[in-house]
């Protein structure tokens, strides 16, 4: 089998006309002034993608390019070049299968794979690491956001008592601590700092109407701590961001804006899942003690109403990353 081709010597960009002839596993190359042979020990055949040229890559960056498809097919057989991926890329049937695999695979990885892996890693990390981070985080927050609490011991007593009751049922969490801070910037809020610290703002304390509401918030935060949510969200967010970037990473810079949409949606979903998990922990406790199961939902609706508008405070994040307050009940955690 013969074909015409173009030979480049790798030393200059000049094109040389060539004739190729295939003799079993050897290609005889004839140029205007010389001839030589090529085999698959020193050279490889490169199948085109789409309409590109076929190429034989020789040592020292010499190159032979041709367009004869039959010759290329025969050469691939003789040179034992794997063509599996190329065959898939040419077929619409494989493309359809690939589409299904890509969608199902990404969905499985992002909704099952990443959270399961993050849980295993998080529980393998020693809690001491969390404690150190927690101390530094609260120091930082104290400097930039928090003021000292203005509450009296009498005002915090019922909350401290409720916290002690919760810990009493979880002896392995006995070293968790409760602190109060004033924070005009974020308003009524409570959160868990890694390492076992639950922070309740003065503004939040002002909204408590009964013991069930107090217990619901504290147990929710203890749930975050016990399930190591701060480490898990960090792991899940970074791994999913890298994964999504890897899938869409071939977009040019400006169009890459559209890749942030799935990333943000995924991270919001992870956050809501953790809120549900912490809610579940709180509801278990409240149920065991015969408390009003609507307490958390009632309280959170008052928190929402107290915030002027979204985006003006921490409430904007609260909404996008948290379930709707009206839905914070037993049904949604099961």
């Amino acid at each position: 089998m013969r074909t015409t081709a173009t030979y480049f010597d790798g030393k200059s960009a000049q094109a040389h006309d060539a004739t190729l002839e295939l003799f079993g596993p050897t290609v005889q190359v004839t140029l205007s002034d010389r001839a030589f042979s090529v085999n698959n020990e020193t050279s490889r055949v490169v199948e085109p993608l789409g309409n590109g040229d076929w190429a034989i890559e020789l040592p020292d960056r010499q190159q032979i390019r041709f367009t004869n498809k039959e010759f290329g097919n025969a050469l691939c057989v003789e040179f034992r070049e794997s063509r599996f991926v190329g065959r898939m890329e040419r077929s619409w049937r494989w493309a359809l299968l690939a589409l299904i695999v890509a969608i199902a695979g990404s969905w499985a990885i992002l909704t099952f794979g990443v959270p399961v892996a993050a849980r295993h890693i998080a529980f393998a990390v020693p809690p001491e690491l969390d404690k150190k981070l927690g101390r530094e985080s609260i120091d930082l927050l104290d400097r930039i956001m928090f003021e000292e609490s203005e509450l009296s011991d009498d005002q915090t007593a019922p909350i401290r008592a409720a916290f002690a009751n919760i810990l009493a049922e979880h002896p392995e969490s006995a070293d968790y601590q409760l602190v109060f801070r004033s924070a005009d910037a974020i308003g009524a809020n409570a959160f868990a700092v890694p390492g076992g610290l639950v922070v309740v703002t003065d503004q939040m304390v002002g909204l408590f109407e009964n013991d069930a509401e107090i217990a619901s918030v504290l147990a929710h935060e203890v749930g975050h701590l016990r399930y190591r949510h701060s480490l898990r969200i960090l792991l899940q967010n970074s791994v999913s961001a890298v994964f999504i970037a890897g899938l869409t990473g071939d977009l040019s810079n400006i169009t890459a804006l559209s890749a942030t949409v799935p990333t943000v949606l995924m991270q919001a979903k992870y956050s809501r899942d953790f809120e549900h998990e912490a809610d579940g922990f709180a509801f278990d406790y409240m149920e065991a003690h015969g408390m009003d199961m609507n307490a958390l939902s009632n309280l959170l609706q008052r928190v929402d109403a107290g915030a002027d508008r979204p985006g003006s405070s921490g409430i904007g994040d609260w909404l996008s990353s948290h379930p709707q307050s009206t839905e914070r009940n037993r049904d949604t955690t099961e």
């Binding site: 480049f8 010597d9 790798g10 030393k11 200059s12 960009a13 000049q14 094109a15 993608l49 789409g50 309409n51 590109g52 040229d53 890559e57 960056r61 190159q63 991926v85 898939m88 890329e89 077929s91 619409w92 494989w94 299968l97 690939a98 589409l99 695999v101 890509a102 695979g105 990404s106 990885i109 690491l129 150190k132 981070l133 530094e136 930082l140 480490l231 960090l234 970074s238 890298v242 994964f243 890897g246 899938l247 869409t248 990473g249 071939d250 977009l251 040019s252 810079n253 400006i254 169009t255 804006l257 559209s258 609706q301 109403a305 508008r309 979204p310 985006g311 409430i315 909404l319 709707q324």
Partner: protein
Amino acid sequence: MNAIVIEKKTYEPVEFSGTTGQYFRIWIVNLALTVLTLGVYSAWAKVRKERYFYTHTSIAGSEFDYHANPLSILIGRVIAVILLGAYFGSGYIHPLAPFPVLILTFLVSPWLVVRSRIFRMRVSSYRGIRFTFKPAYAEAFKVYYLAALVTVVSFGLATGTANYMRNKFAVAHSGFGQTGFKFGGRHSGFVAIFWKFVGLSILMGVVAVSSSALLLPLLPSANGADEVSIGVQASFLVMQIPLLVGYLAVGVYYQVRLRNYIWNTSTLGENSFLSTLSAQEMFVIYLTNILAIIFSLGLLTPWAQIRLARYRAEHLEIALSDDWESYLAASGAEGSALGDEVGQAFDVDIDIGF
């Protein structure tokens, strides 16, 4: 060949022959294999994607080619992921720890820029000759540090100057075989483009804010709502759309003007270039691309990429000196430079967008 001869110079268009149908199948197979291998295949995917675009771009009947070894790209990506992990992970050890990591990354960025430019140029070829980038590390540190300093000290007002410095460095150290690119851009040219961009940004900001204000009465009342609903949040998002579109428009304008200016002032041997991108057309392409990708849940990504590549190719021509063939014949390979061997050990493509 549809070449036009003007005063001894032949204008040869850059031709792009990729099609959405072909590239869609390559793209989706890449995606599926990347998912199945938990990301490892992404390096091979990148090579196949680049090869498709390079081999479907041609000048004077000869196509470009891309030769990267997927393993080099894989190693580069592993390093990038480790760096990212260090960045995220250090935040868990100390809340302020990511800052030293950021500063360190900034400090080594000139080295990274040069390394990845060398890699990208060396794996690109035309008619058997590779493109090159000179390993001018010392100059890279000088240029990048100075450009950053100038930008910070002037509160961003000297961004035009910083752009001039960085682009001059990038073009003047690039080459094709033994021929180096020459940078003919002037400082005043970059400064002028930057200030036009600033003026346009201010104008855009005024227009965007006032059109947001016009939209306000059309939205569900935010003030009267007694609970902060998702609906109100969505309204705020809608209000930001004029600003986002305006931001895209001026961003594209700046990018297009810079690209045209850099191409049109650069030369390769006796050959020059003619880049005629239109900021308006590019803006329409980018905007419709983004919308198409979002509303097709990503499925129109290949269409968007092919369309952009075609538009860019259609608006670039190379003004050949009258003896292109003899120029090519004389365009030798860069030879087995000493730095090449050393380079092989670090032959990685660090994928951080510079």
